[in-house]
């Protein structure tokens, strides 16, 4: 799960800026409640992605409160595409092993 955290955070920010709690809620909602994040670790992860130049943040008014909101940078969008490509390749490879395409007996050596 930890290895995919960056991709999950980038993906939920693709549609627009969100603050920390909204990001956590979006991941849980999109996964149908299956993915339970250790909530406290999200905040340093967001700061790390900002340091890497994949996110930018600013204090914005959310309702009556002031919250730190994060949004994707261009580098963040490119990184998200790379994450998606890597994930597709990974699931295709695992799928090929778990569900092999049956070969005709004549081709077996």
């Amino acid at each position: 799960m930890r290895g995919h955290l960056d991709g999950l955070l980038l993906a939920v920010l693709e549609q627009g800026p969100l603050h920390g709690y909204a990001i956590i809620a979006a991941v849980q909602e999109r996964s149908g409640g299956v993915l339970e994040l250790r909530t406290g670790t999200i905040y340093p992860a967001l700061q790390r992605l900002e340091r890497l130049g994949l996110l930018r943040s600013s204090w914005d008014a959310v309702g009556e409160r002031r919250r730190r909101c994060y949004e994707l940078t261009e580098a963040g969008r490119r990184s998200l595409e790379e994450e998606r490509t890597a994930w597709r390749e990974f699931t295709t490879a695992i799928g090929s092993v778990l569900n092999p395409v049956p070969t005709s007996p004549g081709l077996a050596t």
């Binding site: 709690y21 956590i24 406290g40 905040y43 340093p44 967001l46 890497l52 130049g53 730190r68 580098a75």
Partner: protein, 231 residues
């Protein structure tokens, strides 16, 4: 109907409030640049408040909502290493920058002292020349390490892992730079007794002393950060 927020319902005694207790414990465990640490702790507090408010909208009491929110976040001891990693890297970047600035400060100091001795009544002796050489060496190493640190903890970190011992290396390089600037300050003040333009020599010594103080404080915090566990 108005739904109470967590802030409305917070217990009067902050020592007994689970959210306040959590934030105080976490804040006490973390070391690093004050502004970044404050921002991180404030964001976590906001997240806890939002989580408490969400539980209360589902009908939970404040006490139960706060307990659930704290459980969801993970224990302060559990999340501190993740938070500390970012703070340690930020402190290493800060120390690298101030240590690198010691190089132009040192050059400025020695430029001033040569200007102060321009009447040729005083010429630098071999000890002073050796000291200048050592100072230039330390300043060069600090500047190179600073450039490497800023690169490998910035955009390059997307492709390369950050060396585990880098913050400690930066901390000790900063310490060396601060010691060099401290010695420079003492030597410059001593030289003010023999050069013609002594106020200029004292000014150079003061510049070195300020540089020493700034680099030493940052290097000390960086050493403390580098000793803490990170995840």
């Amino acid at each position: 109907m108005t739904v109470p927020t967590s802030a409305d319902s917070r217990r009067d005694d902050p020592v007994e409030d689970p959210v306040e207790k959590y934030v105080a414990t976490l804040s006490g465990a973390l070391r690093g640049p004050a502004r970044l640490k404050g921002r991180l702790v404030e964001e976590i507090r906001d997240g806890l408040d939002d989580t408490v408010a969400a539980y209360m909208r589902e009908g939970a009491s404040y006490e139960r909502a706060a307990r659930e929110a704290v459980r969801e976040f993970g224990t302060p001891d559990g999340i501190a290493p993740s938070c500390q990693r970012e703070l340690t890297i930020a402190q290493a970047r800060h120390t690298a920058r101030v240590a690198a600035l010691a190089a132009p400060a040192a050059l400025g100091c020695w430029g001033l002292i040569r200007l102060a001795g321009r009447d040729h009544a005083w010429q630098p002796g071999p000890v002073t020349e050796l000291l200048t050489l050592n100072l230039a060496g330390v300043a060069t190493i600090a500047a190179v390490l600073a450039a490497v640190t800023l690169a490998v903890t910035g955009p390059l970190a997307r492709r390369l892992p950050t060396p585990h011992r880098l913050p400690l290396a930066v901390a000790w390089t900063g310490t060396a730079a601060s010691v060099a600037m401290g010695i420079t300050a003492l030597v410059l003040v001593a030289l003010s007794l023999v050069v013609a333009d002594w106020p200029l020599a004292v000014a150079a010594g003061a510049l070195a002393a300020v540089s020493h103080a700034v680099v030493a404080a940052s290097a000390r915090t960086c050493r403390r950060c580098a000793r803490l566990p990170v995840a």
